[in-house]
């Protein structure tokens, strides 16, 4: 009698044992292909590439262990049950038994994804890490038209689209309330946002409001992903809302919901909650919304000031105060949702043209009105009229930029991407430099003493890096003064020692001729000395690596120089024309 019995055809080890093809997997799980696909997506099982594809290049391979893992999944049973239940319904329908069919449809078995989410993301941090794709997809579907049949016969149900919209607004409301938004970038594809939630950076992409034409993709797969991500986002929102002591799911004013002003309704809900927690005694939520005083604008300002978050880091505070005390009004032709989100995320107060809005266009306290028309009809004198790009650029630069360049009818300066590190690329666009100068100017206003700055004058490298020539000259002057004073002191000491009488010489401070060339040379020499001092201590390998690095950096510099030269040439040729 054989000791070990292995079924005929089953391999023991190697690529054959470790990987199965998709058709083998489907057969072993005894499900149909669409159900298998759905299960894989929900469970997080994806095909891999084995070293040797034993059954050929045209199959997709899954890990055997993954498939065995799937086999013990309770969701598999549920999906099978649903399938057999669907057959019952179909049978009833074809037997013209409408009553039975309807009754059956009310009691359809369903499944929940809680366990699945808990398995895939054991900690909250894991869920936050995977939020990018989730939020992008949910926002995308929130903007899609709900159709009965797309190109491949799949339908996008209306309830799903509404659910996506609700989830996306809740997320946006949370981010704007807690001022966690950091960067935005408007591109041709859509609008990119980046926020920092509990230490994790979340980047997502929202479509422009105008689109969307449905293209030919497999919507079943997308809808399965959407299902999973909807559940995930629901739970994440729940946890986040609870962390700021707001009840989830939020109950919104139905009037505002009907007017599709969901985001505004959510902000009011937040304000109501925070007001309740702050001072008022508890009542039911519905009553709170009606208790808000009639002077909407004033109340909103008060409430936002009243809400205090204890654990706030430096950046959040900075972002919160960017648009503080600034009141915006949006014209109907600008992208409303996006601007609502961004402005309130940075502490501003915003209204728009329509029913249910907090205040009207003619309100006197509006400081900025965002328009995107070529010309304006009538103008109020107390407010500034700007294009929407101003808001995005301010947010990226974290300072209030001058509004002259963004006025109505002007062509705005280029909208730069905050996700690109300009120094790393080597080429810094001119507008970026302008923004840097403005930032530096503002910082200097805040800190009155330039000498108390953090610059270390002894480090020559930092001196060379100073953009402002005048500053460098000042610093050098000071140093020279110090040097002469020191010399004087030592001379006097020497004289004392020697016993000479010190004549009462009025110390003429000779005008210090600042020889710019010598200054330059001096600084450069000192910088080189510092650098070579470090180099001499390295071994040969490190020196070679350093050399290679320098060559790389030099190449980059050459490339940028070439670009600049070409730019100059283009400009010159334009001028000649």
């Amino acid at each position: 009698m054989p000791k070990h019995y292995r079924p005929a055809g089953k391999k023991k080890e190697g690529n054959v044992a470790k990987y199965v093809t998709r058709s083998q997997a489907v057969k072993s799980l005894q499900v149909t292909l669409p159900v298998f696909r759905k299960l894989c997506i929900l469970k997080g099982v994806f095909p891999r590439e084995p070293r040797k594809k034993v059954k050929g290049n045209h199959h997709s391979y899954y890990h055997t262990k993954d498939i065995l893992f799937l086999r013990h999944e309770p969701l598999l049973e549920k999906l099978r049950d649903i399938r057999s239940y669907d057959k019952k319904i179909k049978k009833a329908v074809s037997k013209k038994n409408r009553d039975l069919a309807e009754r059956l449809m009310t009691r359809k078995p369903s499944y929940t994804l809680d366990r699945m989410i808990r398995e895939r993301y054991p900690k909250f941090v894991d869920a936050l890490r995977d939020l990018d794709d989730c939020i992008s997809l949910v926002h995308l579907f929130a903007a899609l038209p709900a159709v009965d049949s797309t190109a491949n016969g799949e339908k996008i149900p209306v309830s799903r689209v509404h659910n996506c919209r609700r989830l996306s607004y809740e997320w946006q409301a949370y981010i704007s309330r807690t001022h966690k938004l950091r960067k935005t970038f408007v591109s041709v594809k859509g609008i990119y946002y980046q926020a920092v939630v509990e230490g994790q950076t979340v980047t997502w992409l929202t479509p422009h409001a105008l689109q969307q034409v449905l293209s030919e993709v497999d919507y079943r797969i997308l809808l399965t992903f959407l299902e999973f991500y909807e559940a995930l986002l629901g739970f994440v929102n729940f946890k986040l809302y609870h962390s700021i002591n707001v009840k989830y799911p939020p109950i919104l004013d139905p009037q505002l919901e009907a007017l599709a002003a969901d985001l505004y309704a959510l902000t009011r809900y937040f304000d109501a909650r925070s007001a309740r927690l702050g001072s008022m005694t508890s009542g039911s939520d519905q009553m709170e919304l009606q208790h808000l005083p009639s002077n909407e604008l004033g109340s909103l300002v008060q409430i936002t000031q009243g809400a205090n978050e204890d654990e706030e880091d430096e950046e959040t505070r900075e972002c919160k105060n960017l648009f503080k005390n600034m009141i915006f009004f949006l014209s109907p032709e600008v992208p409303r949702e996006s601007l609502l989100f961004v402005i309130s995320a940075f502490g501003g107060i915003v209204s728009w043209d329509g029913e249910g809005a907090p205040f009207e266009e003619s309100d006197q306290s509006i400081s900025y009105q965002v328009v995107d028309r070529p010309t304006l009809g009538r103008k109020f004198l107390s407010r500034e009229y700007i294009q929407p790009q101003w808001v995005f650029d301010c947010v990226n630069a974290r300072i209030i930029l001058p509004t002259e360049k963004y006025m109505v009818g002007c062509i705005c300066p280029p909208h730069l991407s905050p996700f690109v590190d300009n120094e790393a690329e080597g080429h810094v666009p001119e507008y970026a430099e302008a923004i840097e100068r403005l930032k530096a100017a503002q910082r200097k206003e805040v800190m009155p003493l330039p000498g108390s700055g953090k610059e270390d004058f002894d480090d020559p490298q930092s001196l060379v890096g100073i953009a402002d020539r005048a500053e460098a000259i000042e610093v050098a002057k000071k140093r020279k003064e110090m040097a002469t004073r020191e010399k004087q002191y030592f001379d006097e000491l020497r004289n004392e020692v020697k016993g000479y009488q010190i004549a009462d010489t009025t110390v003429d401070n000779e005008p210090i001729h600042v020889d710019e060339e010598r200054l330059d040379q001096d600084l450069r020499q000192r910088e080189e000395d510092e650098a070579s001092r470090g180099e001499a201590l390295m071994g040969r390998k490190h020196r070679n690596i350093l050399k290679a690095m320098k060559i790389g950096i030099q190449k980059k510099k050459d490339a940028t120089q070439r670009l600049k030269k070409r730019q100059k040439q283009i400009k010159e040729s334009e001028m000649l024309d």
Binding site: K123, S136, L137, S187, D218, F225, F238, P249
Partner: protein
Amino acid sequence: MGKKSKSSRKGKKEWRKNISTEDVEDFLEISTEDVLSGGSQQKEPSFFIDKSVDLAAKKKIDKSRGKVLWSDKLLEKNPMVKIIPSSTTRKMKTNKNAKIVQAGENETTLQTRLKYQNACDSSLTDLWEDGKDDSRIKKKFLPSAIPAVEVEPSGCSFNPDSLNHQDALARAVADEMQKIYQQELGPKPVPSVAHAEVIDDELKYFLEADDACDDNEEDGVQISNTGAEIEKRVPKCKRVTRVELNRRARKKEHLMIEAEAKKVDELTKSIDDLPAILQAIEKEEEEKNKRYMRRRVAKAEKLKAHPPRLGKYKYQPTSLQVLLSEEKTGSLRKLKVSCTLVRDRFNSLEKRGLVVPSKKSGRKDACLKPEVLE
């Protein structure tokens, strides 16, 4: 195989006769009652508290589950030993779908609660509360290191800086030209219609005549060749004498001795050359290692931009979405949105290896922009 005695309870067919039909009969009674009484129990009110509990189906194994092992029973006399039942009892199933109306809830809150309950049919709880660390859960395998949302370069903004814009345009044009070059440089496809001249019947015979001529010539050459070969093939056979045989034997011995001497020589040479040989081996190993590292690095680099080959079709990336120079207006309102994000998201899923590319996915790129760089 004779007929089994009726008293035997073993065998497959016998046990079927032994199944109790209590529950079936109960059910039939109830259903007939319902039908006779007008089916009032089947109607469902809009809100009700479902207190009904299904009859637990009594299975044969439940009977034995309640029993205790005989050995445990024996030990039962010893008060120190506790009886452990053979397996855990099944937990009662609870009915999840009951819609419960809470006291004091008014209409709107009920509606919203129902809306959320129906939307995600799970009770919303904090999944990650109290930081339970389930170490049983296996580590998640990340299919790819490519980030989920990749931000486009600066030149793709709706109002780009001119140099960045040129960069991005150049990249887009390069991609397009690559595709065009691939098509041009590839082998020419077989034409579906071949050019041919119509040949009449008379010309056909002429064609055949040409072929026959050639054949004859070849045959003639062959015949003459075989004649010469036949002559060569029959040399004279002479008898091998003793002298010849001895000579051969001696030669053989010499050869063997020489071969051995040669071998010894080579061995000593190779021993002297040992360090050189070792060095050669080391060099080879180094070369191999270098090649291996190079290939690994190249593969890793490739993986940063493409998924591994997962199925029948190759992954095809979407083209870069850049504004054409004419379209660059600098205004958000006039931005011509030509592409859809659906395709882009699907492509991102493919790029990370979560979805296997199908033949439809690479075929029609709705965002193709053929253009000329100014």
